[in-house]
Amino acid sequence: MTDAPVLGGSLGVWLAIVLIGLATYGFRLSFIHLFGRIDEVPPRIKRPLRYVPPAVLAALVLPKLLTIRPSVVATVADERLIAGAVAGVIAWRTENVMATIAGGMVTLWLFRVVVFA
């Protein structure tokens, strides 16, 4: 392995873990704790929450598959994008996490072997 994080880095990591953990537990507990005082989630909160999963997941995925380069060819001819497209089709047809990972990884490796052979 490469260098272990220095003390400052590790403290930063723990701080992030604890802050995220506290916020997440707060979200989980919110209505389970408050129930009796608040009956229904206000629609103003509920409506945007519906779009959190697709928006966040897409924002996590796409930059890992696609990097904008000076030319269209250079942008599209990317092993990650092609492997991602294969995995996307598998995800759509099977909705199976394991099959999606396997399909994407195998495609990536095939491209690397072909390109580097």
């Binding site: 723990w14 873990i17 995220i20 997941l57």
Partner: protein, 231 residues
């Protein structure tokens, strides 16, 4: 089915049984979380600490990605918070089923609330009202917790021993892709996904790694706008 003497254990076991097919989907996700932790420079204690304290996969992977690229603390925490705010919705939806329980038990049940435990339990509560709710829920949720922790440890071990050339970290976006596709189930959610992804790609060069947050927030806005437009 409701033999009284056996009922309590039967409910717990039913939760474990019903969640087992989902454990197969969670295991590779947990493994990837461990691999990503190593990749971001975390040690075993930090990786397991994150899986125990946060216990929410998508936010963990996003936070690890940002930590690995040296993003400021506020961006790391802010991004994870946006990802996990959906838990409020689950909390509100499951709260009536837990309303009769004591504060301590409810506090414990809240800790293991996840997408899977929520979806599974709610379906069961509606189709099978005589179930002990907290036992069924706990059977499912605790199984997920155990698999998540074991998977994280296994991922750290794998991540530390497999050479970088294998490109194992590419499994991270693949896991998200497997979750993204079923999340785009109608026109507004699809619009939210397309916009979120496109903005994140365009904004990838933003300082402080704000691209992910920018993509997420614009995706939510476009989803809402599409909903208004479609109606």
């Amino acid at each position: 089915m409701t033999v009284d003497g056996d009922l309590l254990d039967a409910d717990l076991r039913a939760g474990v049984r019903d969640v087992s097919p989902l454990l197969l989907g969670i295991a590779p996700f947990a493994l990837v979380a461990g691999i990503a932790a190593v990749d971001a420079g975390l040690g075993l204690a930090e990786a397991v600490g994150m899986s125990v304290i946060v216990f929410a996969g998508a936010s963990q992977l996003a936070a690890l990605d940002l930590l690995g690229s040296g993003a400021p603390l506020a961006v790391v925490v802010g991004t994870a918070v946006v990802i996990n705010v959906r838990m409020v919705m689950y909390s509100a939806s499951i709260a009536p089923h837990f309303a009769d329980y004591g504060r301590r038990l409810r506090a414990g049940l809240a800790y293991v609330l996840t997408d899977q435990a929520y979806a599974l339990s709610l379906a069961e509560f509606e189709s099978n009202p005589e179930r002990s709710r907290w036992r069924y829920y706990l059977g499912a949720a605790a199984s997920l917790w155990v698999v998540w922790q074991i998977g994280t440890v296994a991922g750290v071990v794998v991540g530390a021993s497999v050479p970088d050339a294998w490109g194992l970290t590419f499994a991270v976006p693949l896991v998200f892709l497997a979750l993204l596709v079923p999340a785009m189930k109608d026109r507004p959610t699809t619009a939210a996904g397309v916009a979120g992804g496109a903005i994140a790609v365009v904004a990838a060069g933003l300082p402080m790694n704000l691209g992910l947050l920018a993509g997420a927030v614009s995706g939510i806005a476009v989803g809402l706008a599409t909903e208004v437009f479609v109606e």
